[in-house]
């Protein structure tokens, strides 16, 4: 009898998931990464820390988020869809799960400040939120292009007491914001924690962020059990860096559920990328013939990242999870459909998962299948953009 492998366990000591992951950072940052690894391992074993983390997400973050049966969409598609409602979490997405964990860890490490990168601003707002709540200083690095496109999110962070630094290097977008945050971290690693926004970066970040996000999957599995739904046939989530997907997958990695990550067609690191090293990790990346990193492009800022978390690269390699793609046009249609049928305007990111379901219900996802759909965030941040797109203004 062959033993079934265990999926989504911890990485090896060097932070590897198979051949992916690791720690590719300047020596100046290695001690901090090692310290963080120790600190996280220690904290995550400490019932007091875990319960403070859970309690903060409960009292402040609005957890548990509900599971909503999407009756009208289910009927429309001929499959049974349950949505995990991360859109109802404080600040409007799953990002809060991670930042609360890291902010608490920052205090535990005796640091007084966090820095973060942000693309559209979701992770920046979430980080500024957790920092405000816990009394930490906060600086957010944001591509200059994004600070203009997302001026309101800049203001939101400022309201929350954070300093937003426009990044003028490279393409002036998310990946450059990560570079700049890493550069800045070198200079202040003593008293500052870098609160990375997805399951990416050098070890222990991909693992740690997955652990902080796994509350999504743990809750969902229990909620589905309590409802008598049991293990769904499919667990579907959008994938930018991959934190919401990793979080929900974690609850089902060792079940019979098929795991599906939906990338933006223009940011599909699994679909179109190749192995490479960026931002401290070995993973799948969009890159040109010379190994220069290419810019991702998607209507959804949160999926506009040329890489993917290393654990996803590993799950793809193992075949435990599949990674598929959705293009901008079907994503808009999916956002409209969910809004109209269910009264939930999803984030453009989350609409990717809906779009894929719409495309394959009855084929790859057989009629009658049970699906857990991770609704990673709410669409309020996106309505202005969707409006101009539908009006042909952009």
């Amino acid at each position: 009898m062959t033993q079934r492998p265990i999926y989504m366990g911890p990485p090896d000591d060097g932070g590897h998931f198979g051949s992916f992951g690791g720690r590719f950072v300047p020596e100046a940052l290695m001690p901090a990464c090692l310290e963080l690894d120790d600190a996280f391992r220690d904290a995550w074993r400490d019932p007091a820390f875990v319960s403070e983390y859970r309690e903060t997400l409960h009292e402040f973050g609005g957890r548990p988020t509900p599971i909503t049966y999407l009756g009208r969409l289910s009927q429309h598609l001929g499959i049974e869809i349950y949505a995990k409602r991360e859109d109802l979490a404080h600040t409007g997405s799953h990002k809060i799960n991670n930042v609360v964990g890291q902010a608490l860890l920052t205090k535990r490490m005796g640091k007084r400040r966090v820095i973060a990168e942000t693309g559209a601003g979701q992770h920046g707002v979430a980080t500024a939120t957790a920092a405000a709540r816990l009394g930490l200083d906060c600086t957010v690095y944001m591509g200059e292009v994004d600070t203009v496109r997302q001026a309101l999110n800049v203001f939101r962070m400022e309201l929350l007491g954070a300093t937003v630094v426009p990044v003028t290097s490279g393409s002036r977008t998310l990946k450059d914001a990560v570079n700049e945050a890493l550069r800045e971290w070198v200079t202040c690693v003593d008293d500052t924690h870098y609160c990375i926004g997805s399951v990416m970066g050098p070890h222990p970040f991909p693992w740690m962020v997955r652990e902080f996000q796994s509350i999504i999957g743990t809750e969902a599995a229990q909620q589905l059990r309590e409802r008598g739904v049991g293990t769904p046939d499919f667990v579907v989530a959008c994938v930018g860096g991959g934190s919401n997907a990793a979080g929900v997958f974690a609850g089902f990695a060792n079940s019979d559920a098929a795991l599906v990550g939906v990338e933006a067609a223009g940011g599909s690191a699994v679909g179109l990328g190749s192995p490479g090293v960026l931002h401290g990790m070995r993973s799948l990346l969009l890159q040109d013939d010379s190994g220069q990193i290419e810019e991702a492009s998607s209507i959804s800022a949160g999926l506009d990242y040329p890489g993917i978390g290393p654990e996803h690269a590993h799950l793809a390699e193992l075949g435990r999870a599949r990674y598929v793609r959705a293009g901008d046009d079907v994503v808009i249609a999916a956002l409209q459909l969910l809004s109209e049928l269910e009264g939930i305007i999803p984030a453009l990111e989350s609409a990717h998962a809906v779009a894929w379901l719409c495309a394959v219900a009855g084929t790859e996802v057989p009629l009658g299948s049970t699906v857990l759909l991770n609704l990673s965030g709410r669409g309020d941040k996106d309505v202005a953009q969707v409006r101009s797109i539908l009006r042909g203004e952009s």
Binding site: G14, G22, R23, F24, V25, P26, E27, A28, L29, M30, P31, A32, S169, G170, K175, D176, N179, L182, R183, V186, T187, C188, V189, D190, S274, P275, G276, V277, L278, H279, G280, R282, L285, Q287, S290, G291, Q292, I293
Partner: protein
């Protein structure tokens, strides 16, 4: 022990080393700058192979890399230029790991070796992840220079010192490349390195003026000067001007 180790050990007996940094492919005639630098007294030259996401570099070298990339610079084009230039001093490539990784580690080591390149500095290739690369580079006599930072604990300095080849790069401060006004924590970093290895130890990160170079030379085996030079080239300085700049560093060191 690589050829670079031997060469720099020898040098140690005679003078403090001056290692200027140039961005490969930044200008059409970039190799002329390297020639000039060697004429003006450089003991070895760092040649940067540009990467889109240079996380250890400040604005000056970022800008240099961006321009070089736009001009079409690649690992291959730069190596070919080095190969055909037959420089009179050891050339050490400075690049990010993805450039080598994407080219293929064995293929990259081969290319460097056949181009006459003595070593590499890969700032994002941490000691723990460097085996795969060193396994292919060392047999081809391509040295892998490792870095020690002010934050590196002593036990770790020891391991880095033991693994580094050619020299040990002593980061003068907790910062990315750029200009600064002093030698920062360099003395402490160098003394930690020296307590663990007898490899040559060069100070870099922020060395901007001949005075700083002289200060650093008091306690180290040499200096690496990057942004201060690249800034001049970005400003339009010609080879003569750069030679003059190098010469002034040379004088400060001697």
């Amino acid at each position: 022990m690589t050829s670079l180790d031997r060469r720099l050990r020898e040098l140690r007996g005679s003078r403090r080393a001056l290692v200027p940094y140039f961005v490969g492919g930044l200008t059409k005639d970039w190799s002329q700058y390297v020639h000039g630098a060697i004429l003006a007294g450089a003991d070895a030259v760092e040649v940067g192979v540009p990467f889109s996401d240079p996380m250890m570099d400040g604005p000056v070298i970022q800008e240099g890399a961006l321009r070089a990339l736009r001009a079409g610079a690649t690992l291959e084009s730069i190596c070919h230029e080095v190969a055909s230039s037959a420089f009179d001093a050891p050339i050490v490539i400075m690049t990010y790991y993805n450039v080598l990784h994407h080219f293929g580690l064995a293929r990259a080591a081969e290319l460097l070796a056949t181009s006459g390149i003595s070593g590499v500095i890969v700032p994002d290739l941490a000691l723990e992840e460097s085996d795969a690369w060193r396994d292919v580079a060392t047999p081809l006599d391509v040295a892998t220079v490792l870095m020690v930072a002010p934050s590196t604990p002593l036990a770790r300095v020891r391991r880095i010192g033991a693994a580094s080849q050619g020299f040990v790069y002593a980061a003068a401060r907790m910062a990315v490349t750029g200009r600064a006004s002093d030698v920062g924590d360099a003395e402490r970093v160098v003394s930690a390195i020296r307590s663990t290895t007898d490899l040559a130890t060069y100070v870099g990160i922020g060395i901007t003026t001949p005075e700083q170079a002289r200060d650093a030379a008091q306690f180290s085996d040499g200096v690496i000067v990057g942004s201060a030079i690249v800034q001049q080239i970005l400003n339009g300085a010609d080879t003569t001007a750069i030679e003059a700049q190098i010469a002034s560093f040379r004088r400060a060191l001697d």
